[in-house]
């Protein structure tokens, strides 16, 4: 019995998460006016979705699903990629409205380039400047995109 539960731990977690999301949708839905079936308010459809989510979550907890293989595992190279690529996107988001496209692209490319171990600082820097120049040429000069190129 214990083995049976343990082998299904992943399904149980997935089910609990599903129920959690369902309850969250439900609590939000009840904040809006529900209305009736004939004249539905903004809360009615989300309420239905929340109920369905909770039901599906319960099914997942109670019954396991056919042969679930291993989920994604994170090794160290992947971790480095996750962190640096995330930081690169964040940097772009924080910079774009303050300093414009060219500097933001430079920073984003530089940071994401470093997520591969075989890329040296110098290569990353050259790539960053080159990409920024190309973006400036393509988006600002050729396509005339309404985006500040510099601050």
């Amino acid at each position: 019995m214990l083995d049976y539960l343990k082998s299904r731990r992943e399904d149980v977690i997935a089910g609990l998460v599903t129920i959690g999301v369902g309850i969250f949708i439900l609590t939000e839905a009840f904040d809006y006016r529900l209305g009736t079936l004939t004249r539905m308010g903004p809360g009615y459809f989300p309420m239905l979705l929340g109920v369905i989510m909770c039901l599906l979550g319960c099914i997942l907890v109670l019954f396991s699903e056919p042969d679930a293989p291993q989920g994604a595992t994170a090794d160290r190279t992947v971790k480095r990629g996750v962190i640096l690529v995330t930081v690169a996107f964040l940097a772009f988001a924080l910079l774009i409205e303050r300093v414009g496209m060219v500097p933001s692209v430079t920073v984003a490319v530089f940071l994401s380039a470093l997520s591969n171990r075989s890329t040296s600082w110098l290569t990353a820097a050259i790539l960053a400047v080159g990409t920024a120049a190309a973006c400036w040429l393509i988006f600002s000069l050729l396509l005339g995109l309404q985006m500040k190129a510099f601050w």
């Binding site: 977690i13 997935a14 949708i25 939000e28 809006y32 006016r33 009736t36 079936l37 004939t38 004249r39 539905m40 903004p42 009615y44 459809f45 989300p46 979705l49 929340g50 369905i52 989510m53 599906l56 997942l60 019954f63 396991s64 699903e65 056919p66 679930a68 293989p69 989920g71 994604a72 190279t77 992947v78 480095r80 990629g81 996750v82 640096l84 690529v85 995330t86 690169a88 996107f89 964040l90 772009f92 988001a93 496209m101 692209v105 984003a108 490319v109 994401s112 380039a113 591969n116 890329t119 990353a124 790539l127 990409t131 920024a132 973006c135 988006f139 396509l143 995109l145 309404q146 985006m147």
Partner: protein, 507 residues
């Protein structure tokens, strides 16, 4: 002979200099992003979206569509040569394509994928030109019940067919539907799931959500990897590409069956290319007289899924253009472009804008001929592009994705949405949830709610209205039958496992 007149009208649009130019640009870009792993169709469309607002809608759609089906051709190249699918739909092609290329038959595999893609595409285009007009005519009588039922069927089929974990897929669809509701409710003006952030009042950006779920994990997964071009890739001459007579013979029927399977799943909103490729591969394996060759370089294993994939891509335009129901996120973007240009998606599109519809159809024919040239005599170029080191390429992709997403609405929030969905997608994958059904629910969410509400207003709150109207009823019965089938299969599985565990305990 109405059809001939229409085709001539289409040819006058697609065959014009601008039409040819945008078509060629689209399919070339499409092949490029298809070949390169890590940039999806969505990212490319996102980058080009702002430009298309200044184009005439006919040409804008011709170009965007070209990217879409061009990527379906290009995706198989990396799959065959590197066992690294360039697009999700070409993953199946690698199962037999990669072993073929290890055996020195990369050329033959590439040749056959191009031919199969062409056959599948043409099959899809023929269906599109034959069935869209009658379907749109029928759809003029559709009420909200029919629309709701159709989307319901699409979502059920997408979640259940071809997925090993049906409950998880259904949960993903439901979450997607809820995420689609983020923003102002059109009927009451209430902001839902916006948490007081006015940037969310217009809803989540489709492009940001889609790239977050699919593009970001792809970029991250490949960021640390160093890919070397295999030696097989460098020796592809046109002569080495020609299949033998035996290989031709073995590919013929799989291509036909693949086209049929692809067209069916492509036309059904929701399922589309990925499901079609898996099912056509499984079908060929089952029908083959030598199933043991599958996975070791059976040519049927690339011909069938490639035909299915491309046929599905073209058939996906059927519900999009004749009903206004987008079968996948790319189609949702196409509908968005139409709306920007003041064309309301729905059954009136074909009748109201025949130049747009028939122009697109003819551009598919022309585009596929372009693609045949790009992928047969010019395949060497794409193989060379594959040898660009990925660790130098993906930072550039990151930059393009940033600019692309930001420039759709000029909203920094969209970049945070991208990151959020990147992590959501990663979290879902680690719990073995699929993200594709979520995206589909997200795309259809607002339309489903709208039609659900309208249907119940029209019927005075009678839920049975979905079953009593004839067309809606048939669609609903089919959907319920699919659900029933999976419930029975699921219960059988649970019962079977219970018996097995008790046997183990006795032993």
């Amino acid at each position: 002979m109405e059809l001939l007149g229409n085709l001539a009208l289409g040819l006058s649009v697609a065959g014009s200099l601008a039409g040819l130019g945008y078509c060629l640009l689209g399919v070339t870009l499409g092949t490029l992003v298809g070949v390169l792993p890590g940039i999806g169709t969505m990212a490319t469309l996102a980058m080009l979206l702002p430009i298309t607002y200044h184009l005439e809608p006919n040409y804008a759609l011709i170009m965007l569509a070209g990217i879409y089906y061009g990527a379906a051709y290009g995706g198989s190249t990396a799959s065959i040569l590197l066992n690294l699918p360039g697009t999700a739909t070409s993953a199946v092609t690698g199962i037999d394509g990669y072993p073929m290329s290890r055996k020195g038959q990369a050329g033959v595999a590439l040749f056959m994928t191009a031919i199969a893609s062409f056959v599948g595409s043409m099959f899809g285009v023929v269906l599109l030109s034959l069935f869209s007009v009658p379907l749109a005519r029928v759809a003029l009588q559709f009420g909200p019940q029919e629309y709701f039922s159709l989307m319901f069927l699409g979502l059920i089929a997408a979640a259940l067919i071809g997925s090993g974990r049906s409950i998880r897929s259904l949960a993903a669809v439901t979450l997607g539907l809820a995420l689609g509701l983020v923003g102002l409710d059109l009927n009451s003006g209430v902001a839902r799931f916006a948490f007081g952030m006015p940037e969310l009042f217009d809803g989540l950006s489709l492009v940001a959500v889609a790239i977050g779920l699919f593009g970001l994990p792809e970029i991250i997964a490949n960021a640390g990897r160093i890919i070397n071009t295999p030696p097989e890739a460098k020796t592809i001459s046109f002569r080495s590409m020609l299949p033998s007579r035996e290989q031709w013979r073995r590919s013929r029927m799989p291509m036909v069956r693949g086209s049929g399977i692809g067209a069916f799943f492509g036309a059904l909103p929701g399922t589309g290319g990925v499901v079609a490729t898996f099912i056509s591969y499984a079908t060929e394996k089952k029908l083959s007289r030598h199933p043991e060759e599958f996975g070791k370089g059976a040519i049927e294993g690339i011909a069938a899924p490639e035909a299915a994939n491309n046929s599905a891509v073209q058939a996906a335009f059927i519900p999009t253009l004749s009903l206004g129901i987008p079968g996948d996120p790319v189609m949702a973007i196409m509908l968005g472009v139409m709306m920007v240009h003041g064309i309301l998606p729905g059954p009136n599109v074909i009748a109201g804008n025949p130049d747009l519809f028939w122009g697109l159809v003819m551009s598919f024919v022309i585009g596929n001929i372009f693609l045949l040239v790009l992928n047969l005599p010019l395949i060497g170029i794409w193989v060379k592009i594959l040898s660009i080191p990925y660790h130098l390429l993906f930072p550039v992709i990151v930059a393009f994705v940033c600019i692309g997403i930001y420039s759709v609405n000029f909203q920094v929030m969209d970049l945070y949405v991208l990151l959020f969905f990147g992590f959501l997608g990663w979290g879902m994958k680690s719990l073995n949830f699929e993200v594709a059904p979520l995206l589909l629910g997200f795309v259809l969410g607002p339309m489903m709610e709208e039609n659900f509400r309208r249907a119940l207003i029209v019927s005075n709150g009678e839920v049975s209205t979905f079953l009593t109207r004839p067309i809606s009823g048939v669609i609903m019965v089919v959907s319920l039958a699919i659900i029933a089938w999976f419930v029975v299969a699921g219960l059988r599985h649970v019962a079977g496992r219970g018996r097995r565990t008790s046997e183990n305990q006795n032993a």
